[in-house]
Symmetry: D2
Subunit: 113 residues, 4 copies
């Protein structure tokens, strides 16, 4: 039977996959980064065992990505950093998504009882 | 060749389909209705010819839809009303999504030059 | 009151926005281009007034986009061409999405009664 | 530092969240259940450490959910069962999503070295 720590890590993964695939593709420009960050964090915090989510969309990266003259781009992992804290039973899991060699990577940071 | 009014109606439809399928499925509870409304409106307003978007997620309908004990539900058309104003060349199109016989319907309201 | 042709163009736009924002972000590699094309076309053909949809995901563009070592990329408009035929009342609308100056553009092609 | 088993469970969760939030909301009727099942499985199998995915969309539940006269509904967790096998280092994780008391639940089934 899976341990509490394994369950907590599974739950942490669910939240990351959910956040990413729900919001990837959303139209974004410097005009809506703040409202999008907040909506992403607050919607995922509804999910079970999800204590807190922070989303930082980098305005400078958004500006760089806007190159086709329409004034906006689509949200992808390379434009943002995300951190989450998941608590399941007595286990706390911290996770992070950030750029590594130019590619957004979702990582388990710590798993603590 | 399509007329300006037809183009404007096509653009209006794109925005509606975009908003709906980008955000349907987002976890929602009374705790995040306001931030989700704002993020939806502001992200779609980035799209070309889209002058304004209003999104109203009905807290009472969200509460009714939360019946599985997890404290949240997934966003669907029946939980919200949406209005948009699209301006293309000298044509203004107003659209609306609202419940009709219990089913959310996207409608052209007016097309004016 | 909107004309039948304007309604048909609005419906055509809805289908385009739906297809794009439902499927943008889907993991894609040369291993799943065919099944994804088919699922995209068949799901949107369910929508009202949508007579036919064709989706072509370009394997060569997918291969070029896979540059981060994980063996897949995320679906975006620049990897595919889409055509649709919408019939509403006695109006037939043909639409197309294709690259124009490197940016995917959704266009009304013809509106015929 | 997280163990291999915890990493594998995190990866398993990511796949589940991805599958769910990428495809929830897709228009579905008995006409496109097979192509949608296949596209969902094959797209998620692109993700790292994901050995196999099976998706079963229940035609009878889809038919029941189609009640608004448009001939289709939107994909939600209650219409399908999903199983996945994730292999990370020497750990194999099996997961399943199925209805429990009418609500779709994502579960870790086994974690084996």
């Amino acid at each position: 039977m899976p341990t509490d720590a394994q369950q907590a890590c599974f739950e942490a993964g669910i939240k990351f996959g959910s956040l990413y695939h729900q919001f990837a593709g959303t139209p974004v420009s410097p005009a809506n980064t703040r409202s999008l960050e907040r909506a992403m964090a607050e919607s995922i915090e509804n999910q079970p065992f999800c204590e807190s989510v922070t989303v930082t969309i980098h305005d400078d990266r958004v500006r760089e990505a806007i190159d086709h003259g329409n004034g906006y781009t689509e949200l992808t992992g390379s434009l943002m950093d995300v951190t989450m804290r998941i608590v399941h039973e007595d286990v706390t899991v911290r996770t992070r998504m950030e750029l590594e060699d130019g590619y957004p990577l979702m990582r388990l940071v710590t798993v603590e009882s």
